[in-house]
Amino acid sequence: MRNCVILLTFLLLVSVFVAPGRAEITAVKAGKILTISSEPVEDGVILIEDGKIAEIGTEIEIPEGAVVVDAAKSVVMPGLVDAGAAAPVRGDLNEQSSEITPTLRISDALDPQSKTLKRVVQTGVTTLFVSPGRRNVIGGLGVVVKPTGKIPRQMIVKDEAALTVVMDLDSTQGNRIPRFQVPADFYYRRPGTRMAIIWMLRKSFFDARRQSDSEQIEDPNLAVLSAVLKDEIPIHVNVRRAITIRAALKVADEYGLNLILQECTEGYKVAGQLAERKIPVVLGPFYYYPGSMGQYREGRKVNWNNAGILAEAGVKVALASGEQSGAIDILTAAVFAVRHGMDRDEALKAITITPAEILGVAGRVGSLEKGKDADIIILSGDPLNVTTRVEKVILNGKTVYKID
């Protein structure tokens, strides 16, 4: 009882004297801190002030009145970055009325209440890249978001983060009419073949290049494409088979594009070329059961040693969970990649700092450093162990998920 009274008085004092005018400080006491950018720290402390990491190290005094998160028996690492995550979007991810929709911003369709976000947080992901779907040759502009905020604008870390291009046969899906019938709707459209997809891509950039010298570009579609040509917006190309990767490299050569490859399931066949051109790849989604490999699923198989081979060849590799549900989360994907030959440190980087660099947000997320966003996950053990659980997720200094 007495203890209780003392505690209450203390709390009252704290709330009266400390709270006003001073930012709340959170201190995370960690058994082991995997900073990613530098050596791991044993028995360290992370101080969080104003949603940012204020201090990190071993001998740090915890200020009075700080909220202490005790993770002395746990492993702490930066929030994971998923460079191709399940999209928290209501409705279709694709604008199917045209094959070329560069002006489409997926940030206009974000749904902060999406259940997908909750699921994503539970797997330890605190930054994710949301891109348009794969039913258009040029799909539109993707966005980097954090799973927090009430309206889309509060979620966004970086809008217009990349232009999504799909070069596999996915974008031809549905583009057929039965023979001897009149084309009734816009599913009667080009392209139907791989060569037509590549032709459309090439023509779009051809038109944009012709326009890019003029002062004012009237067509907003061409304005986006010429920004890509000037390297102002990165370009993510979704390719799976080696033949398509080679085609993508050829188009990139013609227009001087700096590509980032997604999925890339047959990347191991061209690892040398990718390393030579310094093209980063985002691998994934990975499945336990790849499912049907029909016409539009060509190349969608799980080559677990792909990541190891590419990383060894010197390619920057990131792991992603892909926009469809049912895929493996990236922490588990990293475990499997290590099991099939990827270096441990490389695998950890492939789910944190590397995707952050690829997305151009490494200044804020991807590692535990002073001044970066306080996106921290607390794990029950070594991250590269299948039995490890995500115990707690801290996003911008606030706990957004913890296990019961």
Binding site: V89, R90, G91, D92, L93, N94, E95, Q96, S97, S98, T101, T103, L104, R105, I106, S107, D108, A109, L110, D111, P112, Q113, P132, G133, G140, K150, I151, P152, R153, D185, F186, Y187, P220
Partner: protein
């Protein structure tokens, strides 16, 4: 023969002149009411409303009843202004879903819902029976830009100015239901992009090259005409706010069911919210939402969205909202003066005060009681519905 014909013509003429002069001198009407819910001036007990020529001439506890006035004794009854339904689709056709959305084109800004309105439809009478005297007739939500909404009074039989506004605003929709699988747009991002494209073109519109669609959208972009934006979920409301911010539209949120979650942002932008109907079967969480959104300072009006729900549900919505946290005064305002202000007709409607139209509803109990029934409905001083004793 000729003289007889001439005489008969004379008789007919004189008769018609007599009738006209009679029509001009409608007797002054005095309603003595137990309780008058004036909305803007509080509640008057045992008051009198004097109605002259379809307008309210005086209202008060001891207003003078002129000689020769016809007195309606409602001393045990409650009188409130005619209710205003801020969004509905009545009087369209048997197949309303087909009539309210022109889904062949995604942008149908030049279409007017009034062209499809049948003033003699059954649900118009039903609306009057439930105390609704003015409605905003709206196109549906299955088009990014659905068409022009109209404000009409429902006494279409005798009053000759029942159309208050032929173009009261343009209906936009950023809801998922505006997406189709076989016409543009098919995605939410595509929808927002389409609206941007359309509004950009309207901005650049020059009247010399007449285009009815751009003409009306130009008025919307210039904020001369309200944009009624359908947005139910939080993300949809956020999309609507994006467009409003980018183009500085004079906007109203329609069917903003989850608006309470971001009520502060809606209030900050001064966006009024039209609330979808609440039903007895609604979840508790939904029933609490109007109270929360109005508590943040958002101007609230209820809409029946009829025929999706029944027109009787308009008053029920306010009653339920009041039961679950909405301030009682705010609840009754959300049926009367708030929609009048949102629709821009508050100079004529929305409260019982001098100079306004005599659109009145007489109830046998307080308006926010479920048990109160509607006894009499009056539009422009004409009785359009009276409950029959059995």
């Amino acid at each position: 023969m000729k003289i007889r014909r001439f005489l008969s013509l004379l008789v007919i003429l004189s008769c018609s002149i007599c009738l006209e002069s009679l029509g001009e001198e409608t007797p002054i009407l005095a309603i003595s009411a137990g309780k008058i819910w004036t909305i803007t001036d509080g509640i008057i007990t045992d008051g009198v409303i004097i109605i002259n020529n379809g307008k309210i001439q005086a209202v008060g506890e001891n207003a003078d009843v002129p000689e020769g006035a016809k007195v309606l004794d409602m001393s045990d009854k409650n009188v409130m202004p005619g209710m205003i339904d801020a969004h509905c689709h009545i009087g369209l056709s048997v197949n309303v879903q087909r009539e309210m959305d022109e889904t062949v084109a995604a942008v149908a800004a030049d279409m007017q819902i009034l062209d499809a309105f049948d003033p003699y439809a059954n649900d118009v009478k039903k609306a009057l029976r439930s105390g609704v005297t003015t409605v905003l007739l709206a196109p549906g939500y299955r088009n990014p830009i659905g068409g022009q909404a109209a404000v009409v009074k429902l006494d279409t039989s005798r009053a000759n100015d029942w159309v208050l506004k032929r173009t009261a605003g343009v209906d936009f929709s950023v809801m998922n239901q505006a997406l189709m699988f076989n016409r543009e747009p098919t995605s939410r991002a595509g929808l927002v992009e389409l609206l941007r494209e359309e509004l950009d073109r309207a901005k650049a519109y020059k009247p010399e090259k007449f285009n009815p669609r751009r003409e009306v959208l130009k008025r919307v972009v210039d904020a001369n005409l309200p944009a009624y934006i359908w947005a139910h979920n939080v993300d949809e409301i956020a999309s609507a706010m994006t467009i409003v911010d980018e183009y500085g539209l004079n906007a109203v949120l329609v069917a903003a069911g989850q608006g309470d979650e971001i009520a502060d942002m809606i209030a900050q932008r001064n966006l009024p919210a039209i609330y979808p109907p609440l039903l007895l079967s609604s979840r508790d969480k939904d029933l609490q939402r109007p109270g929360k959104i109005a508590g943040s300072g958002v101007k609230l009006a209820f809409a029946s969205l009829a025929p999706k729900t029944d027109l009787y549900d308009l008053r029920t919505s306010a009653i339920l909202a009041a039961k679950y946290g909405l301030d009682k005064e705010a609840a009754i305002k959300s049926l009367t003066i708030n929609p009048a202000e949102i629709l821009g007709v508050s100079d004529r409607l929305g409260s019982i005060s001098r100079g306004k139209d005599a659109d009145l509803v007489v109830l046998n109990g307080e308006p926010l009681q479920v048990t109160s029934g509607i006894e009499l409905v009056m539009v422009n001083g004409n009785i359009v519905y009276q409950r029959q004793e059995e």
